[in-house]
């Protein structure tokens, strides 16, 4: 129901944006709000416009005024009397014109067009027309045929007025800086100019405006236009006393507005302008007077006419009173600025007199939280003293809750106040009424009372939010509640251990549920410590599952990535202490739960591999108990089973290779061999092209770069890996070489050659008596240890290397005869090979002649030989065994 205003004290919008990223901002915003929130005109304007809407039609005189400046009319007294009698009072014809019924939207458009017209008339120098437009706008404020829209209407018109005030001010200021008769600049006025700086011409212009405006016949347009030009008095005087007197006069003039609603909004505009005039320091007696006058006029609500008015305008008393909320909020907020105990007491006494809860509510929201906190028990009594069902008191409690959350009462009073309030609040069943209060008080409780109270309050909230009671309209409140919990429950574990938390989240509609889960998980991942409590683990998994399960084939890639990242970060924070079996079982469950997200599966595999290394640390080297061995095997089996389900072949390859290496490192050669075997089987199947995003319908991409990358890693890894006992020490390298040679490389690709060179480097490492690296403690022994002293080992390496080299040379020769691009690649490969040979090989005659040939190919490269070639030559010269070759390389 758009006409049903939210209690002003509860600002749900601040909570609607959940999430860690916003947390800092929200906190700053909150602090800032403490200071000038209540006095933020734009905020008041936005909230009012959003709150006071109507579907009724509003009668408006829409005829645009003409711009003929009329001579002042001579009216004799008898003529005036006649006109009054005949009801022809309206001086302007347009006012007599037919009224058009406008919807609220049309009215907004109408006022915007008036504002536009004002600017354009002003731009054309039609000052009289401009003034008429402004007066016509003000006339909308004289009466409120549709009171439901009056607060919004006021805001719309005040914008037109502000514009006009600015135009006139700027005009006079320009006149003071620029002489239009001589077209000469006079001066440049500083922002804080003084009246004595203003030339007579500009002063005269200013006075003329005041005379013109003072002659506006009708009270309300006259006062409003005077107010919007109030600032122009700066051109004439700066004595504060003058302005204080004017303020008093304006305050008094509002009393002439018979409709108390109209009068109170006029006070709002008065205070709005006074804030500018007095630079925030509005004389206190007048601020007080505004509220006193309003309090006095409240007696008008009692007469018989008033009842009749309510009936004709179709409102209940409560609805009518709510129309005052923004104006009272504004008046009271100004009254409360710098208020001491005495002013608070006096205001409270006045507010209580009328017996209207709204006044009390606005008062609670307006005064400093410290004052409210000090008097909290009394305020609760005051609220309770006012008649009516508890539901009507709830907005008051909500306002009180918001204030107490900012500034709590003395510690010994906190629980007392909460109990007193909740005795009333808990009775209300309607969640629409209940939730805003719960929202406000939850923040108070979470910040200033213990976890126990928070937990009780959340339970009470859940009791009010049975599945039947929950409607979509409450969504925002539930989000707000969760936001409060997220922001203020200091201990994340405490938060997640609130039993009703998950049911609360479950109430949300899917989209918001996902948002809340995201926020919760994000803040969890940033909190650091690991989680061991099974209840918490369960809750976390539930949250993760909610994210995961919200994904469909239509979900956007960004969501998938984000969720995967988030869940992938949550899972490693779960710990089962020394119970590695339970931890493995957890990863089994995760695999089942998060099957749609490959990145999460990868995280699981990694998690399991970490379990292996933890198991190794717990069990001394090579002394696996049967049980521990079974555990490691189970982990490796997990990897073996899980990895193939991933869509990206390279992800599979990387993970399987890592698993194999971990297995070797753990001393489980058989399992490692199986894993490595799977790697090679996968390698054989890598197609030359794959979709850019694996597992989706995207453009195909060549797999050469990632394949080459992986083969490098694999070859480097194989340096430490012993061959399979039954197939010889070099079986793995030989298989890789075979795969490389069998792979359908693009003829133009340099990768095949690069991989071959890398394989040669791996082989030359393998030919060393001691390998450059081995598996860590507990790992399987490498080839150097296994085949030390073997007569067959080294020749086998050389044989494989020779085969590889021959194939490579054939390739280079073929390329060198090819086109320019091929020749270029041949040259690069030759240079690479030459560098490798110089670095790794003993200079045999065969190699020396080969080096010469390679140099020739490399040097044949089109264009000047690259720097790299020169460096190779230097390198050759510096290596004693090869030095004799150097002079041939020119």
């Amino acid at each position: 129901d758009p006409l049903n205003p939210r209690p002003l004290g509860v600002r749900q919008t601040a909570f609607n944006t959940l999430g860690q990223a916003n947390r800092g901002r929200t906190e700053t915003a909150r602090l800032k709000r403490k200071v000038d929130d209540a006095l933020d005109w734009e905020l008041l304007r936005r909230e009012t416009l959003a709150t006071y809407t109507t579907h009724k039609n509003i009668p408006v005189v829409s005829k645009i005024v003409d711009d003929v400046e009329r001579e002042p009319e001579v009216v004799t007294l008898t003529e005036r009397a006649r006109r009054r009698l005949e009801g022809l009072e309206e001086e302007d014809e347009e006012a007599k014109g037919t009224k058009k019924n406008m919807t609220q939207r049309e009215l907004v458009a109408h006022l915007e067009s008036l504002a536009d017209e004002l600017e354009s008339a002003w731009g054309k120098g039609e000052k009289v027309k401009s003034l008429r437009i402004v007066i016509q706008s003000c006339k909308l404020l004289i009466s409120c045929p549709v009171p439901q829209a009056y607060p919004s209407l006021f805001m719309l018109v005040s914008k037109v007025l502000d514009t006009f005030g600015r135009l006139v001010f700027d005009r006079i200021k320009r006149r003071a800086q620029f002489d239009e008769r001589t077209s000469r600049p006079i001066q440049t006025l500083p922002a804080d100019f003084r009246a004595e700086d203003i030339p007579d011409e500009a002063k005269e212009m200013c006075k003329n405006w005041f005379f013109k405006v003072a002659a506006i016949r009708e009270l309300i347009p006259r006062v409003y236009v005077e107010l919007c030009l109030w600032g122009c008095h700066r051109f004439l005087v700066e004595d504060r006393r003058v302005y204080t007197d004017m303020m008093g006069r304006f305050v008094a003039q509002m009393r002439g507005m018979g409709d108390p609603l109209v009068a109170n909004y006029a006070r709002v505009y008065l205070l709005h302008k006074a804030a500018e005039i007095f630079n925030g320091d509005i004389p206190v007696e007048h601020r007080v007077q505004c509220f006193e006058d309003w309090s006095f006029t409240r007696r008008q609500w009692q007469g018989p006419h008033f009842q009749q008015y309510l009936e004709t305008s179709g409102q209940t008393m409560a609805e009518y009173v709510r129309l005052y909320a923004p104006s009272l909020g504004w008046v009271l907020s100004w009254l409360a600025v710098g208020a001491d105990e005495g002013r608070f007491e006096a205001t409270l006494a006045l507010a209580q007199q009328g017996g209207h809860l709204l006044v009390l509510q606005q008062l609670i929201a307006a005064f400093r939280p410290t004052l409210i906190a000090r008097h909290a028990p009394r305020l609760v009594q005051s609220i309770k003293a006012l008649s009516g069902p508890p539901a009507q008191r709830l907005p008051c409690y909500a306002a009180l809750g918001v204030q107490l959350a900012r500034e709590p009462p003395a510690p010994k009073l906190r629980l007392h106040v909460l109990n007193e309030v909740w005795a009333d609040v808990a009775e209300v069943q309607d969640p629409e009424c209940y939730l805003p209060v719960a929202h406000a008080w939850l923040e108070f409780v979470a910040r200033h009372l213990s976890h126990r109270e928070t937990s009780i309050l959340v339970s009470d909230i859940m009791a009010h939010l049975g599945p039947d009671a929950f409607t979509a309209g409450l969504e925002g409140h539930v989000q707000g509640l969760l936001g409060v919990l997220l922001e203020h429950v200091p201990d994340f574990h405490a938060l997640l251990s609130l039993d009703p938390l998950l049911p609360l989240i479950d109430l949300l509609k899917p989209d918001s549920k996902v948002d809340v889960c995201k926020s919760l998980l994000t803040s969890f991942t940033q909190l650091g410590p690991t989680v061991t409590d099974p209840v918490l683990v369960h809750a976390l998994l539930d949250l993760c599952r909610t994210l995961h399960d919200s994904l469909t084939e239509f979900s956007v890639e960004d969501d998938r990535r984000q969720f995967a990242q988030l869940i992938g970060c949550v899972l490693p924070k779960v710990s089962f202490g020394a119970d590695l079996d339970a931890h493995l079982a957890f990863f089994v469950e995760c695999r089942r739960s998060f099957s749609k997200l490959d990145a999460v599966i990868e995280a699981c595999v990694m998690g399991v591999l970490r379990l292996v290394s933890r198991s190794l640390r717990l069990n001394p080297v090579r002394q696996h108990s049967k049980r521990a061995a079974a555990f490691v095997k189970a982990c490796l089996a997990y990897c073996h089973i899980t990895v193939p389900a991933l869509a990206d072949p390279f992800q599979r390859l990387r993970l399987l290779l890592l698993a194999a290496m971990v297995a070797f490192g753990a001393g489980f050669a058989q399992q490692a061999d199986t894993l490595l075997h799977t790697v090679l089987a996968l390698l054989r199947d890598v197609p030359p092209f794959l979709p850019a995003v694996p597992g989706t319908l995207t453009a195909l991409q060549s797999t050469e770069a990632p394949l080459g990358d992986f083969l490098h890693t694999l070859l480097a890894a194989l340096v430490a890996v012993p061959g399979r006992p039954e197939e010889g020490p070099l079986s793995w390298v030989a298989e890789v070489v075979a795969v490389v040679q069998a792979h359908p490389w693009d003829a133009a690709s340099p990768v095949r050659g690069q991989v071959a060179v890398a394989a040669l480097r791996a082989l030359s490492a393998l030919a060393q008596e001691e390998l450059p690296y081995h598996f860590g403690a507990g790992g399987v022994p490498s080839n150097d240890e296994l085949h030390a002293g073997s007569d067959t080992y080294r020749p086998a390496v050389e044989a494989l290397a020779t085969d590889l080299l021959d194939a490579l040379l054939t390739d280079i020769a073929a390329l060198a005869d090819g086109d320019r691009a091929a020749a270029q690649r041949a040259a690069e490969l030759a240079a690479d090979l030459l560098a490798t040979a110089v670095a790794f090989a003993e200079p045999t005659d065969k190699l020396r002649s080969l080096a010469g040939k390679l140099w020739a190919v490399a040097a044949k490269q089109p264009g000047p030989p690259p720097r790299q070639l020169a460096l190779i030559r230097t390198r050759v010269g510096c290596t004693p065994a090869w030095a004799s070759l150097a002079e041939r390389l020119t």
């Binding site: 007294l77 004289i142 002659a215 016949r217 003039q253 018979g258 007696r299 006419h305």
Partner: protein, 299 residues
């Protein structure tokens, strides 16, 4: 060739007794021969008859002659030649004459105005160039305010109604409206102030207005004729005002259409304020307050 008159004061407002300074500026392309320049200053009270209005003045028959207040002829230049470009001829004259000077005033039937005209004579063949402008005379301190400015209190109740002739008295609602005008001797540069408070009213009030009325008197052969017209009408209450709440009465006196009260042997300009209460049922009450306007001597 252009001829323009420039006064030394923006707004051209002078108090009686001040010296008015100014200059005639002649902008000419090429040199120009002339037969002299003359400045004419005129001040007069014109009793105008409005053509729109068939009123008592028509009955007088024939126009009423203006009363001359000021008449000066100042030769500014002998016959000669103006050179190319702009020539400035300064002048000055006092605003003091044997007869009293009245403040500039634009009424309906009475107008007090002051004019400066400059005329450039071009000889037999040329057309004379003429330019004129108004200046404004005010007379601060002309009428001394009475020593005390006493508020005038009023109470409006059915029993003290004096003019209910259009509406039978029994239909008049019950009401009690009290208030005061802070002073009926008013400084024309300050607003009229006061307050009004509806203490009781059966009927809803539609609005309350302050009506500023000028009353112009002319003495003619047939005696003194009088006409009252509205200068302005300022609403002070809109709608059914809260009972018991004092509302300010406030009215700024408009420029040029008001002047300090003038009483001469030929004419008289006086002002009154009507307080008009209009009820929703179209009943209306009027209370009349003659006021005296004065312009205080400036410090």
């Amino acid at each position: 060739m252009t001829l323009s008159i420039l006064l030394d004061r923006h707004g051209c407002i002078y108090s009686v007794g001040e010296v008015i300074k100014g200059a005639i500026i002649i902008a000419s392309k090429g040199s120009m021969k002339h037969n002299g320049i003359q400045l004419q200053v005129e001040g007069s009270v014109a009793l105008q008859l409005s053509p729109r209005k068939v009123g008592i003045f028509e009955a007088l028959g024939g126009p009423v002659k203006p009363i001359q207040l000021m008449s000066l002829s100042i030769p500014l230049a002998e016959a000669g030649t103006f050179s190319d470009g702009s020539t400035t001829l300064p002048f000055e004259f006092p605003t003091r004459t044997k007869s009293p000077l009245y403040e500039t005033y634009h009424g309906v039937f009475i107008n007090v105005q002051y004019t400066i005209s400059a005329e450039l004579f071009r000889g037999i063949f040329g057309k004379n160039e003429r330019q004129s402008m108004q200046f404004i005379i005010i007379h601060p301190g002309h009428l001394r305010p009475p020593p005390s400015m006493k508020p005038v209190r009023f109470t409006l109740e059915p029993h003290n109604l004096t003019n209910g002739k259009d509406h039978p008295l029994q239909r008049v609602p019950q009401f009690r409206i009290k208030g005061q005008i802070d002073s009926v001797t008013c400084d024309i540069t300050r607003p009229l102030t006061g307050s009004i408070c509806v203490e009781h009213s059966d009927t809803r009030i539609s609005r309350i207005e302050l009506q500023l009325v000028r009353v112009e008197f002319c003495s003619t052969a047939n005696g003194v004729t009088k006409e009252a017209t509205e200068v302005q009408n300022i609403q002070v209450v809109e709608g059914d005002v809260c009972r018991g709440l004092a509302v300010p009465l406030l009215m700024v006196f408009p420029r040029w259409f008001t002047c300090p009260t003038v009483v001469t042997t030929f004419f008289k300009i006086e002002f009154e304020v009507n307080l008009v209460v209009i009820f929703e049922d179209k009943h209306q009450l009027t209370d009349n307050f003659p006021i005296q306007l004065h312009r205080p001597a400036t410090a």
